[in-house]
């Protein structure tokens, strides 16, 4: 593993100037050095999370973190919950299925309700693009976007960047192929912006029906043929193909998709010999990725992504609450 200097995540030197944002809504809002700052902060947590049994840090003690998930999620919700608890926050989960959203309450009313409960940080996932920003506008505390529609999933891009940096040492000149359903993917949108900002050469690889128009504007070069897109890639990032898009709507069938765009060992051989395989999960084994590749001990970074997810979310929760906690230079 390349040697990375780990700066202290202690109360900071340059303070708020390093991250002058109230919320974390979109990678598009962040400057490259702000992204790097979050990655450096997360590096500290990655180390401490690996450091034995006692992982607790009490810096968010007494603060309330609400995870408001209007769309189903297992791993992201769990990751945010663990991150909050490791920092000592009181974490409350609100799942849409059991919430008053089902009873017709508007999103703004829900936001006002959460706000009235004096949350100190709110993590939101919603099925509509822009919904998280809409809520963020109405609440007094920092909001973290845990995914809004096809728009953004910034912590996923950050955890992917951290995983890549740990494995590859940096981003400059790195070829990253983001493959699959780019059109409907917030993960792809966040990653394209993030990796391009950090200096990587980003490729978007998708069938034309699943490629957003003018994807170049997000910093990616489009490829319609998997083999061309994988040529010489350092990182192969697969995207999940949603079940409802599989049968005739955007692609003819899962098996044809697997034939043309599935990441098989043969296809992975087109990429660089040491190419890293990533997937934001949950995987459709045998559709976008074959099990041999997904479980490859050296090449697959999929479980490491999950691990870095906790570290990134701890860093984001810490950084965004520094102002409220009165950390010197951040208040």
């Amino acid at each position: 593993m390349p040697d990375i200097t780990v700066p202290s995540a202690s109360p900071d030197l340059a303070g708020r100037a390093l991250f002058p944002h109230r919320h974390l809504l979109s990678i598009a809002d962040l400057k490259p050095w702000e992204i790097r700052f979050l990655l450096d902060e997360a590096e500290h947590w990655a180390k401490s999370n690996r450091g034995g049994a006692r992982k607790h840090d009490d810096r968010l003690k007494g603060m309330t973190q609400i995870n408001a998930f209007f769309e189903n999620s297992t791993r992201t919700l769990l990751s945010f919950e663990i991150a909050g608890k490791r920092l000592g926050a009181d974490v409350v989960n609100m799942a849409a299925a059991t919430s008053s959203v089902k009873k017709g309450e508007t999103l703004i009313d829900t936001a006002m309700t959460l706000n009235a409960m004096a949350a100190d940080v709110i993590v939101i996932r919603h099925a509509s693009s822009g919904a998280v920003a809409l809520i963020a506008d109405k609440v007094d505390c920092p909001v973290l976007n845990a995914g809004d529609g096809w728009h953004q999933h910034p912590t996923q891009a950050l955890l992917d960047a951290l995983t890549i940096r740990r494995r590859k040492g940096g981003f400059e000149g790195l070829i990253v192929a983001i493959c699959g359903d780019v059109l409907h993917s917030r993960v792809a949108r966040s990653n394209m912006l993030c990796l391009a900002a950090l200096g990587a050469q980003v490729r978007a690889v998708a069938p034309p029906t699943l490629m957003p128009p003018e994807v170049e504007m997000l910093g990616a070069t489009p490829f319609h043929r998997m083999d061309e897109g994988l040529e010489g890639a350092d990182v192969v990032m697969m995207l999940r193909l949603q079940n409802e898009r599989m049968d005739g709507a955007f692609i003819p069938s899962p098996r044809e998709y697997h034939m043309l765009y599935g990441l098989t060992p043969e296809r992975l051989a087109i990429a660089k010999r040491d190419a890293l395989v990533m997937h934001p999960g949950p995987m459709n084994r045998g559709v976008e990725i074959s099990s041999v590749v997904a479980d490859h001990p050296d090449r697959s970074a999929i479980t490491e992504q999950v691990e870095m997810g906790v570290a990134i979310r701890m860093a984001c929760l810490d950084v965004l609450t520094r102002g409220a906690r009165g950390v010197e230079g951040w208040a």
């Binding site: 598009a28 999103l107 703004i108 509509s128 822009g130 529609g149 728009h151 003018e214």
Partner: protein, 407 residues
């Protein structure tokens, strides 16, 4: 018998080529003479010095009868879209709609072409015409079934009614809320290619050619769409089209940051299409400028972008924004009044929107350079959903006369 003479104003006669000095003579609710007229001694004179006198605006295709907004904007008549909570698909509803604004505002309802606007069975268009409908409309969507659309056109032509249609191929448009392009990609919004418009126009022009019917495309917003309309007009087909100021002055990047006030139907287009729209107004391809007034409160607009209702409150800004076209030299003041008044009247078949003797005495006095700032928080409309919030504009209506009576 009351006689009124409006003197000292500049007259914006849609049939003229320049603003001209002159008087307008009115008897009861009709204009009886304009221009260099000798004033009868018993006429009461009204001084319009410093102001432009023009026909009241006729707004071809609005979604609500919102009188305060219409009066603010100098609109004296509006054609009401059939897309109401109960679609205007039967005579009683039409009759009710015609009465909603009287006496100081006239609503000309557009009859739903099909029952419930479902695009399947013909509605009782003749009965609705007898009840006061002045046109037939497909509403917010096109009619997907080409056979139904052809019968709508052909049936309406027999009654002498124009069919007002929505130019968007429904299959392509689907659930799209934005035009395909950089903005939609960045924001992750469901999008449809701009050609959805031209495809619908191409089909409907062919059906208009076959049936000989008069068709009006309420909002045309793309270069490809205007090219088709231009060609159809050159061929002599009874094809007209309109646009609203939003598509002339905003492009799709106006929805950046998920601004739902800029969520319109059809969605805002590319900058290239916006420029083509201006050119189409300048070269005469566009016949009508409409506000497409659709006031929507926070319950419809303060939502995630894709969940928000489309539409903008446009009545108050229709004239002031359109006057930019005059100031920028794209059209003359008189031509603008043709787009805002005379052509809509012609399409609806009402004797208004003109200075021709026996026209309705619906007049507005315009202070064409008066500056003001659009403020969504202080609008006369039922809701302030304007994408032009905080935009400085020029041109205010100072007085309105409806049917020979000042408001």
């Amino acid at each position: 018998m009351t006689k009124l003479a409006i003197i000292n104003g500049k007259l914006a006669d849609p049939a003229g080529s320049d603003l001209a000095s002159g008087a307008i003579l009115i008897e009861d609710d009709r204009i009886i003479a304009t221009g260099d007229v000798s004033l009868p001694p018993d006429a009461q004179t009204i001084d319009a010095s410093g102001l432009v006198v023009a026909p009241g605006l006729i707004d071809l295709g609005v979604f609500a009868t919102d009188k305060p907004a219409f009066h603010f904007g100098g609109i004296t008549r509006a054609a009401l879209m059939p897309d109401q909570s109960s679609p205007l698909d039967e005579a009683a509803l039409i009759r009710h709609a015609t009465r909603a604004g009287k006496p100081d505002f006239w609503v000309h309802p557009i009859a739903a072409a099909t029952r419930g606007l479902k695009g399947i069975e013909l509605a009782e268009i003749g009965m609705m015409q007898a009840a006061g409908a002045k046109a037939v409309g497909t509403g917010r969507q096109w009619i997907a079934d080409s056979g139904v659309m052809m019968r709508v056109l052909s049936y309406a032509s027999g009654l002498g009614l124009t069919v007002i249609t929505h130019a968007e191929d429904g299959g392509l448009a689907g659930k799209a809320v934005a035009t395909s392009g950089e903005t939609a990609t960045r924001l992750g919004l469901p999008h449809a290619p701009a050609c959805a418009e031209a495809m619908a126009i191409a089909r409907d022009i062919m059906l208009a050619r076959t049936t000989g019917a008069a068709i009006h495309f309420r909002l045309v917003t793309t270069r490809a769409g205007f090219d088709l309309i231009r060609a159809a007009k050159a061929e002599g087909l009874k094809v007209t089209c309109g646009i609203s100021p939003a598509y002339l002055f905003l492009a799709d990047n106006a929805v950046t940051n998920f601004r739902t006030f800029a969520r319109l139907s059809p969605p805002l287009r590319s900058e290239d299409d916006r420029k083509a729209s201006i050119a189409a107004v300048a070269d005469g391809t566009v016949d009508v400028i409409t506000s497409s007034h659709d006031p929507r409160g926070p319950e419809d607009k303060r939502l995630p972008f894709a969940d928000a209702a489309p539409g903008m409150a446009g009545a108050e800004t229709l004239l002031a924004l359109s006057l930019n076209l005059v100031r920028e030299g794209h059209v003359s003041f008189n031509r603008l009044m043709t787009l805002l008044s005379a052509n809509p009247a012609r399409i609806l078949g009402v004797d208004a929107g003109s200075f021709v003797p026996r026209s309705a005495a619906d007049l507005i006095f315009i202070d064409p350079d008066a500056p003001w700032i659009v403020d969504s928080g202080k609008m006369a409309a039922q809701a302030g959903n304007t994408p032009f919030n905080r935009v400085p504009v020029q041109g205010r209506v100072r007085r309105i006369m409806k049917g020979g009576v000042f408001l």
